[in-house]
């Protein structure tokens, strides 16, 4: 969920690099919040909020990997897999709140632009840029060419662009006294962040609502299951996602009575599990199928499709 460049599993080799990048980013986040307060710059504030997504993404890569590998327990039969999703929801909410604040405040400031301490603003902008470049250098060294590389690169460039925009607005302000530049830049950065935040919010909420994983059509799954040998009916078909990479499915499958006598039931089970693991765009490794004779469904009190 979180940031694109947090997806790669934090192997032992990468952990140190991620920790260093996190330390840099967290420090800069603090510096930028402080800077936003003393300079009165809205652009710096939204850039700091953006930085927060990086702090979050890197923390996830560092902590979540460890947390999620902790064994499951009787209290948490899914382990900590969901923590990632809830944390992403929190992050998206904070970003959205800051984004909205920046727009409301930015529009007001366009009418009555307050003074911005542009000298200090340049310094904070440069600090942000240098830190971004340093993070790129640290992370890039540890990355082999993989799926996430392009997305991660874009994300990091995006961050650096924010800092560049802050510097440009600070220069414009110090040269021309055009204080509105700060609000304009802030809203531009906001316009870049908000659509992605809304997407993240939508994704996390849909996981938390136990929505069927994207790319999985339950009608299709039902048709596949009904197409398997010996299967008579399917009911109580449920699919959801515990976390980004943990889709789960469960179903009650009514099979021929004779399967329970001639020993073909286990083979049907194998077919079912192979079907959901291989036939669909979303591969489901964690499936639970209750095979039942037709006589069972009759006295189940909660049958539905």
């Amino acid at each position: 969920m979180g940031n694109d460049h947090s997806h790669a599993p934090a192997g032992a080799v990468h952990t140190r690099r991620i920790a260093i990048a996190l330390a840099i980013t967290a420090t800069i986040f603090g510096a930028e919040v402080f800077g936003a307060i003393i300079t009165g710059s809205l652009a710096l504030l939204i850039d700091a909020a953006h930085m927060l997504t990086d702090v979050f993404g890197l923390t996830m890569a560092l902590v979540a990997a460890r947390l999620m590998s902790r064994p499951t327990s009787a209290k948490r039969t899914w382990g900590f897999a969901r923590a990632e999703v809830l944390a992403a929801l929190g992050q998206a909410t904070v970003l959205l709140a800051v984004g909205l604040f920046v727009f409301v405040e930015g529009i007001q400031r366009l009418f009555a632009p307050p003074e911005i301490a542009s000298g200090e603003l340049i310094i904070f902008g440069i600090i942000g840029l240098v830190a971004n470049v340093a993070s790129i250098a640290v992370l890039a060294g540890g990355r082999s060419a993989n799926f996430n590389l392009r997305a991660a690169f874009l994300e990091v460039v995006n961050d650096a662009l924010g800092s560049v925009a802050v510097i440009i607005s600070a220069v414009v302000i110090s040269l021309t006294g055009f204080y509105r530049a700060d609000s304009i830049v802030a809203m531009l950065i906001g316009a870049l962040i908000i659509p992605r935040t809304l997407k993240l919010l939508k994704e996390t909420i849909s996981v938390l609502l136990e929505t069927t994983p994207t790319g999985l059509d339950l009608d299709d799954v039902r048709a596949h299951i009904l197409g398997l040998p010996h299967v008579v009916a399917v009911h109580d078909l449920h699919a959801s996602q515990v976390a980004t990479n943990l889709p789960v499915i469960s179903a009650h499958v009514v099979v021929d009575e004779k399967c329970f006598r001639d020993g073909t039931a286990p083979a049907v089970l194998d077919d079912l599990q192979k079907c959901v693991a291989t036939h669909f765009p979303v591969s489901i490794e964690h499936s639970t199928f209750q095979l039942e004779p037709a006589s069972h469904a009759e006295h189940e009190d909660a049958v539905h499709t």
């Binding site: 064994p71 499951t72 009787a74 209290k75 948490r76 039969t77 899914w78 900590f80 897999a81 969901r82 923590a83 809830l86 909420i205 938390l208 609502l209 136990e210 929505t211 069927t212 059509d217 339950l218 009608d219 109580d236 078909l237 449920h238 699919a239 959801s240 515990v242 469960s250 179903a251 009650h252 009575e257 329970f260 006598r261 020993g263 039931a265 286990p266 089970l269 194998d270 599990q273 693991a277 490794e285 964690h286 639970t288 199928f289 209750q290 095979l291 039942e292 004779p293 006589s295 069972h296 006295h299 189940e300 009190d301 909660a302 049958v303 539905h304």
Partner: protein, 311 residues
């Protein structure tokens, strides 16, 4: 799940959902009326106290409306996209109300502390304050009585109840504070009262949020003992092992269970797995509060080629 309940527990669940909805509807009507009266009063008299209380009422109203919308959405039947139905929406409403409560309480506490440190020059006129608080008290008490019956039925209703409860406490402490100010002239009473409200609301809101987060994190419901369920399953004849046991709740009280049960080859040979399934389902629904269960009964050799095994 939603549809299934209409079969089994239909009449009961349906009735309680409808009552909860009408409870919320009436509570909203009361709070909205008082809110309008207070705004009109604030404009007419220029009273800040009235306006502040109207602010409280507004947050209350938002919380109650969110709760009402959630109960309506939650009643929708399950679809292919939402195979567990929409009851989880109520948990989100409770999350919203929990956060709203903490936000309001924190704001009140900060205000209280800052007024204790630097007392307002503006003297709060105690008599109008007393009148406002009394109106609020009566309205909130009526709303609270309406909601109390439903408070234990869902996290959502508990959240709505707490919203109103917070306001009731607010009105009550304000009355005490204005009486103290009226008779003793002890001005800090008002600020102290706000701290008392915060101290009473925050623990309740935190406990609500803890329950909400437990549901959202797919944790085992508090009253369910997984170890005991495992031992019950293992005690059934022919069962060798049990793995991938998962218990979670769509919303509080709507528990979902799944497990893979490894059995002796003889169970399949005898054609007994259907009967074992009956016994397992019966055991679970009889001994534990589980609405929906899925048992995968498998021979020992199946478990060996499953990708990931865990207890």
């Amino acid at each position: 799940m939603a549809r299934s309940e209409q079969h089994s527990h239909g009449s009961h669940d349906h009735a309680s959902a409808t009552t909860n909805r009408s409870r919320l509807g009436w509570a909203i009507a009361i709070v909205a009326t008082v809110l309008i009266v207070e705004i009109v009063g604030a404009v007419a008299t220029g009273s800040l106290a009235l306006l502040a209380d109207a602010g409280h009422m507004a947050s209350d109203l938002i919380g109650l409306i969110v709760a009402l919308v959630a109960t309506i959405v939650a009643a929708r039947p399950a679809t292919e996209r939402h195979s567990f139905g929409f009851q989880r929406v109520e948990v989100f409403a409770a999350l919203f109300n929990g956060l709203l409560l903490i936000g309001v309480a924190a704001f009140v506490a900060i205000e209280g502390v800052s007024r204790l440190i630097t007392p307002d020059d503006v003297q709060i006129p105690p008599v109008p304050l007393l009148v406002v608080a009394a109106i609020g008290l009566i309205a909130n008490f009526a709303a609270l009585m309406l909601l109390r019956g439903g408070a234990s039925s869902s996290l959502n209703m508990r959240g709505a109840y707490l919203e109103v409860f917070g306001d009731l406490l607010g009105s009550a402490t304000v009355i005490v504070a204005s009486l103290v100010i009226l008779f003793t002239g002890f001005a800090p009473a008002d600020a102290i009262a706000s701290l008392v409200i915060a101290a009473m609301i925050i623990p309740r809101a935190v406990s609500l949020l803890r329950d909400v987060i437990r549901v959202l994190l797919q944790q085992t419901p508090v009253e369910t003992d997984v170890a005991e369920i495992r031992s019950h399953i293992l005690a059934e004849e022919g069962v060798v092992d049990v793995h991938d046991v998962h218990v979670w709740a769509v919303t509080t009280g709507k528990n979902i269970f799944s497990a893979h049960v490894v059995v002796e080859p003889a169970v399949f040979e005898r054609g007994d797995s259907g009967r074992l399934l009956d016994r397992l389902s019966m055991c679970l629904s009889a001994h534990f509060d589980v609405r929906h269960s899925t048992f995968q009964i498998e021979p020992a050799e199946h478990a060996q080629h499953e990708e990931h095994l865990h207890p």
